[in-house]
Symmetry: C2
Subunit: 239 residues, 2 copies
Amino acid sequence: MDNEPAKRQHICKRFDRELEDIRNRALTMGGLVERQVEEALKSILNNDVELGERVILNDISVNALEVSIDEECTQILVRRQPAAVDLRVVVAVIKTITDLERIGDEAKRIARQAIDMAGHYCKKNQFLDLQHLGRHGIQLLHKSLDAFARLDVDLALDVVHEDRKVDSEYESIIRQQMTYMMEDPRTIPASIDIMWAARALERVGDRACNICEYVIYQVKGKDVRHTRLEDIESEFKTQ
Amino acid sequence: MDNEPAKRQHICKRFDRELEDIRNRALTMGGLVERQVEEALKSILNNDVELGERVILNDISVNALEVSIDEECTQILVRRQPAAVDLRVVVAVIKTITDLERIGDEAKRIARQAIDMAGHYCKKNQFLDLQHLGRHGIQLLHKSLDAFARLDVDLALDVVHEDRKVDSEYESIIRQQMTYMMEDPRTIPASIDIMWAARALERVGDRACNICEYVIYQVKGKDVRHTRLEDIESEFKTQ
């Protein structure tokens, strides 16, 4: 019986390592997905079909990681039956990797548009704003993963805030491409590709926000989805 | 001590009721979401701005249901610490309601396009295929909820199969609208709206497939996401 506390502590430590492990694996998956979006953007901006094809192929690794981390989370639920903050970590990881997998799908969509675009007539500068939107979307994703890594609620709130700008950049691209199309019907196929890619990048921003909402859930224990940003900020912002 | 087995049975029954309850609530949410997609489609086909606005407003109820069912699932994980098939039910419900909520978002997007379309120049019959795609997407959603209700793996596989047709209907709408736009630039704004709505309906089909994959997971205990349909069928199809 004397060994009981030591044994418990030992199990506790192992459990902590397991939780740390799924969080780290989610971050690894996040890094991979971030690179996928970057390369997909590069492929459409540089008209690089080969790179686009590589992005599509690499999506398999993203999907495999999701299934494997998901399985590990379920195993932890079964074996450890976590409660309170530990349970929140597991639930947050399960939700985060779902969004990461879907961001991977968006990267694949962008890569498909890149391949489709090859050979389409384009106006000079027709891509300029897409590049800007893309950089911004990737930045949000990067920040959301930082917030997840450091469990940083303030950073998470920043991302949700910043996403509003991404949304309005997206709207402005759509309007601009409509103008191009009406002025010069030859731009229609390229414009449509750009619009799809823009939509995908806008969704990357939305999903980065989802990840940030799970960070707040992990730290504060409160489900803030579908809550007005101003209300979340007034409750949780410290800076 | 004599009371122990009776007590355990009593707890068991209560637990079964709780599991049944979250499944039922997910189905209620599914019914609401299905109606949202139906009304969104109606609003765009009949140019009914008022109905579109109602759909957007009703999305709040969908979101509230998701948060509340999610909370109930987490409570069950904490209190009951389910294992094996019981755990799979809870995990499947958590994932299903996430997809239902996102289908609700697609309905909202369609409704937004309906409102945006009011006043846009349209070609006669420009909507015909959208109606067809919409009916098909809603049918898949309905079937996926049936598969969830009856835990019917064969029906779930049917949906995944049928979704391929929805995908090709969607591709054909995109091609057709491109032709309209090139032939007559006046149709551009309406065509873009129709393309966004078509994309949203195609995504409804994709998410109905996700729900079906969770049905297979619930019943068979196997994660079939990212697996080739033919491989899933050869393993699980009974008919």
